[in-house]
């Protein structure tokens, strides 16, 4: 394999960013007419290029030490960014979700006035996610975090003559702004305590208990002591800021509103890719920067995995029970995505006080995020299709849809059952993976709530299936057009979801390796 | 010519300990009073007298020649006249914003002179971030303008305030970017450093003033500065033929005086900035003690330029203003920045 310059390791992120700029340029050339095919094509191509790069690198061995025949971790800008297996893993998730969403959008926003802006914002946000997955410092993390958030605010509110969309955008923006402020303040406290922002340096500070400083790339210890209390508060606030991105309790309030109000492809994008971005930051920060072992060793600093356990359980129950009581499909999906955030939180919760089992549980969470990326995106894209057809938003509006659009409904059935954890899609395996991760450290409560919530989720997911296939169509609904882009995206997602049953071995291996190398 | 700042010089003159904070505070106050009154004198000279003379000369008239020699008596006369006028508070004005606006306009402009090296040791303070500071103070005036425009409860004032802000912000960025291109040469934001960097000769007798080194930036800066101080062709915020007097329509008596003074101090501040970062500050032939004279010459030169523009160039429309600012000046100043960087990179 050819030896590329180090900065080329960022190619997946760069591809997305460059595509966004290219879209703006295309729009600048002729702002008055919009060529949907061109814009959509460019966006899909860009995200596919990024996906190709990520896949090439991850199998080319980027992030695996030379000793094991890999290319070694690509460290950029004095370790502000690192491209390792985990970063690439999440870049793959982001890129594939972006590809699906942009492909589906070609039909969804066809009549829309601001198409170039739409695609550009999606890709900007995606590039932010890609950078976030490589961020190795609270500084880059914060910048990337905002690069993810700001476009998504605009995306949610992009239907500017639609009260629902605007209201969703407002709520998303307000809560997002507050959480980013909390995040920034938490970072400032961590900096106050440790004197550094780079994850490894923070870890060094926590280990040695003394303030560190980073001089031309090397970490040097200072004399001053790390004030544990400030550090603890800082960590909690950082966690709060991240919890917003993952839509985890107690920062989940925006999720139902934002997902319901925003255009369905945007909801798909946010609930899949944005969540993944939040989690990659959480994984890296809490695995590298705040090693639970050292923290608990250093006395009165909170051992955060307990917090995560509580968060995980509460999030699971809140999300699933709320979802079970919904009357609108999109809102149900929104709450279910909150519940899934709870599942993935197990990845950070299922470890022992000394931090054992971290790699195992984290890889489980990563695997679930990947599978979830496809099945959840697919489900939301199906909702986008329903909106495209003008089908209502309630369960009973979906009645008998299976007769008019059997293919799409079959795909939706796959998504929902896979989300519920039936072995018809990869969701079954990833849930089992999480399950065994919990049992691995004997976290019975987590295991129990995982099983209970999966059983519960089957109930409300099957409501949609029932409506689509079993119920008789109520009222007259005429479905005249079968949009190609949306169909392609949905079918592609469904195929991948099913193929993840035989292919789950690869995924779990990648995730495991990535988590171990971290 | 790295001269010690004014307060320390004073302290040494009076034989006091320059490390004693109290002493320094007192000395600083004295120095500040000195600088302040100096500027007030300048503006008092410029506002009621020089401005009219110049305009009259342009329009081939005779102006202010009644009171005193060359009509210089007009200055105190006008001061008394304006101060003793009744202060009319229109109904519905938003106090205290309405009262604060003139104060802000007047005093922020004065603040900028703190870091300007005027030669002959007349250099109040020399912080490392001098240039950033002076830009900051210079742009604070627009807050006063929008306050005045908004608080007056008058449609002309409101439009004037909005125009003023739109114009200031449109030309702020070219201004600052062009200043940044100078910083690339000087490699420092400290005023004394920037001045010092312009001392060595460029070609023959010509000193390496940045106006000569980078005339392109100089022209850009002059234009942007015109817009900043709101003189023709950029005087639309108070375009008398369109919106009476813009944001100052409703002000009378002392408030009017303050706004008027503020504008002129602002003009001189702009001149001071130009003189410092483009014209070598107080540098000039003769002993360094003459520096102040040269400095005065330079800022009065800039003042004359603005007055010439006021009389000679027609006013632009608001849309032209915005388009010149965003499509012309901004792009040019970005280009200038990169160009300068390349040049400096090559010669360095």
């Amino acid at each position: 394999m050819v030896q590329l310059p180090t900065w080329a390791a960022l190619a997946p992120a760069l591809a997305l960013g460059v595509t966004a700029l290219a879209l703006l340029l295309i729009d600048s050339v002729d702002p008055d007419t919009t060529n949907t095919g061109l814009l959509g094509g460019v966006s899909v191509a860009g995200s596919l290029v990024s996906l190709a790069f990520a896949v090439w690198f991850i199998f080319g061995g980027t992030g695996i030490p030379q000793s094991e025949g890999g290319q070694g971790v690509a460290t950029l800008f004095n370790g502000q960014l690192v491209v390792d297996q985990m970063a690439l893993f999440f870049m793959i998730i982001v890129a594939s979700v972006t590809a699906l969403v942009t492909l589906a959008s070609t039909d969804y926003v066809r009549e829309h006035a601001y198409q170039a802006e739409f695609y550009a914002l999606v890709l900007l946000s995606a590039s932010g996610m890609a950078i976030l997955s490589a961020a190795n410092s609270l500084a880059t993390a914060f910048v990337a975090f905002e690069l993810v958030s700001l476009p998504s605010y605009a995306l949610v509110a992009i239907l500017k003559d639609n009260r629902g969309s605007v209201e969703a955008g407002l709520k998303y923006f307000l809560i997002g702004a507050v959480s980013s402020a909390v995040f920034a303040y938490g970072i400032s406290l961590v900096y106050a305590a440790t004197g550094v922002l780079r994850f490894d340096a923070i870890a060094a500070a926590i280990d040695s208990g003394t303030v560190q400083t980073v001089a031309d790339g090397s970490i040097q210890a200072q004399s001053a002591q790390v004030p544990a209390s400030i550090l603890g508060v800082g960590i909690l606030m950082v966690l709060g800021g991240i919890a917003f991105k993952m839509a985890a309790v107690p920062f989940h309030f925006w999720a139902p509103e934002a997902y319901e109000g925003s255009p369905a492809p945007v909801a798909a994008f946010l609930s899949s890719a944005s969540k993944a971005a939040g989690f990659v930051l959480a994984f890296r920060a809490f695995a590298v920067a705040f090693p639970v072992g050292a923290l608990t060793a250093s006395g009165d600093v909170i051992s955060w995995f307990v917090v995560f356990q509580i968060l995980a359980i509460v999030t699971m129950f809140v999300g699933n029970f709320a979802a079970a009581t919904q009357e609108k499909v999109k809102r149900m999906m929104a709450y279910s995505s909150v519940g899934h955030a709870g599942y993935v939180l197990i990845g950070l919760a299922a470890l022992s006080a000394s931090g054992d089992g971290m790699a195992f549980s984290m890889s489980a969470g990563m695997a679930h995020l990947l599978v979830y990326g496809f099945m959840n995106t697919g489900a939301f894209l199906f909702i986008a299709l329903a909106e495209y057809w003008g089908v209502g938003r309630r369960f009973e509006d979906y009645n008998g849809l299976g007769r008019q659009a059997p293919l799409a409904c079959a795909a939706m059935t796959i998504f929902l059952f896979s989300l519920a954890g039936l072995p018809i899609g990869g969701g079954f395996f990833s849930k089992f993976y999480l399950f065994s991760a919990t049992l691995n450290v004997g976290a019975w409560t987590l295991a129990a709530s995982l099983v209970i919530n999966s059983a519960l989720s089957l109930f409300y997911y099957s409501r949609v299936v029932k409506a689509m296939w079993v119920e008789e169509p109520t009222g007259e609904r005429s479905i005249d057009s079968y949009p190609t882009g949306l169909y392609t995206a949905i079918v592609a997602a469904a195929v991948v979801t099913v193929l993840l049953i035989p292919g789950f071995g690869t995924v779990s291996d990648l995730a495991m390796r990535a988590a171990e190398l971290l | 010519m790295q001269s010690a700042p004014l307060p320390e010089t004073l302290a040494e003159l009076l034989g006091l300990d320059p490390n004693n904070t109290l002493v320094m505070i007192v000395m600083s106050l004295i120095g500040a009073a000195l600088i302040g009154s100096l500027m007030m004198t300048n503006t008092a000279l410029a506002g009621p007298w020089a401005k009219r003379k110049i305009t009259a000369a342009f329009t081939d008239r005779i102006a202010v020649n009644r009171i005193g020699p060359f009509g210089l008596g007009t200055i105190p006369a006008d001061a008394v006249r304006l101060l003793s006028k009744e202060l009319i508070v229109p109904e519905g004005v938003d106090r205290p914003a309405w009262d604060l606006a003139p104060l802000i306009i007047a005093s922020t402009a004065l603040l900028g002179f703190a870091v300007i090296p005027m030669g002959s040791g007349l250099h109040l303070a020399d912080p490392e971030v001098g240039l950033a500071y002076v830009f900051a103070t210079a742009s604070m005036a627009s807050i006063g303008l929008i306050m005045a425009g908004y608080a007056s409860n008058n449609k002309y004032s409101f439009l004037g305030g909005l125009r003023a802000v739109a114009q200031n912000i449109a030309y702020e960025i070219p201004l600052i970017l062009t200043g940044a291109s100078v910083v690339i040469f000087a490699g420092s934001l400290q005023m004394s450093e920037i001045v010092a960097a312009q001392t060595q000769p460029l070609i023959g007798p010509l000193p390496s003033w940045y106006a000569f080194v980078n005339p392109f930036a100089f022209v850009l800066f002059m234009i942007a500065n015109l817009a900043e101080v709101g003189r023709n062709p950029f005087d639309i915020p108070e375009a008398p033929t369109e919106i009476v007097a813009g944001y100052q329509t409703e002000y009378s008596s002392v408030y009017f005086v303050l706004i008027y003074l503020g504008e002129f101090i602002h003009i001189f501040l702009g001149g001071a900035i130009i003189a410092t970062i483009f014209l070598g500050g107080p540098a000039g032939p003769g002993p360094a003690s003459l520096g102040f004279i040269w400095f005065m010459v330079k800022i009065w030169g800039v003042f004359l330029f603005t007055q010439w523009a006021r009389s000679a160039i027609p006013r632009v429309r608001i849309d032209q203003l915005i388009e010149i600012g965003w499509k012309g000046m901004l792009v040019l100043s970005l280009a200038n920045l990169l160009l300068t960087a390349v040049i400096v990179g090559v010669i360095a």
């Binding site: 500017k160 639609n162 605007v166 407002l170 709520k171 920034a184 970072i187 109000g261 | -």
Partner: protein, 100 residues
């Protein structure tokens, strides 16, 4: 030199003022300003401890924070603008019609 905890107290106070504003005010613009306060509280910490620790990391980060705050304002004002156009009000509690 002023001891660090004073800066901490100051920033905490500013942060809490911002938080209070968020919790009590209903005007979206005031909300925005409160968020700016919170961000600037973070900036206080950064600059103060950058001085304390003697490295520039904090100051650079505060620059980032400013830039991002500005971008946030740009987006936020845009959203508030369309909010006003749709609801003829900038009261965050007025927008409660979550239906299409």
């Amino acid at each position: 030199m002023i001891p660090a905890q004073w800066y901490l107290l100051l920033s905490a106070a500013v942060f809490c003022i911002g938080l209070f504003g968020i919790l009590t005010r209903r005007n979206a613009l005031v909300f925005l300003m409160s968020v700016e306060l919170m961000l600037n509280a973070a900036n206080i910490n950064f600059v103060a401890f950058s001085l304390q620790h003697g490295n520039l990391t904090g100051q650079v980060f505060s620059l980032f924070t400013m830039a991002l705050a500005a971008a946030e304002v740009a987006v936020g004002v845009g959203i508030i603008l369309v909010l006003y156009r749709n609801f003829t009000d900038v009261d965050v509690t007025k927008a409660t019609t979550m239906r299409w």
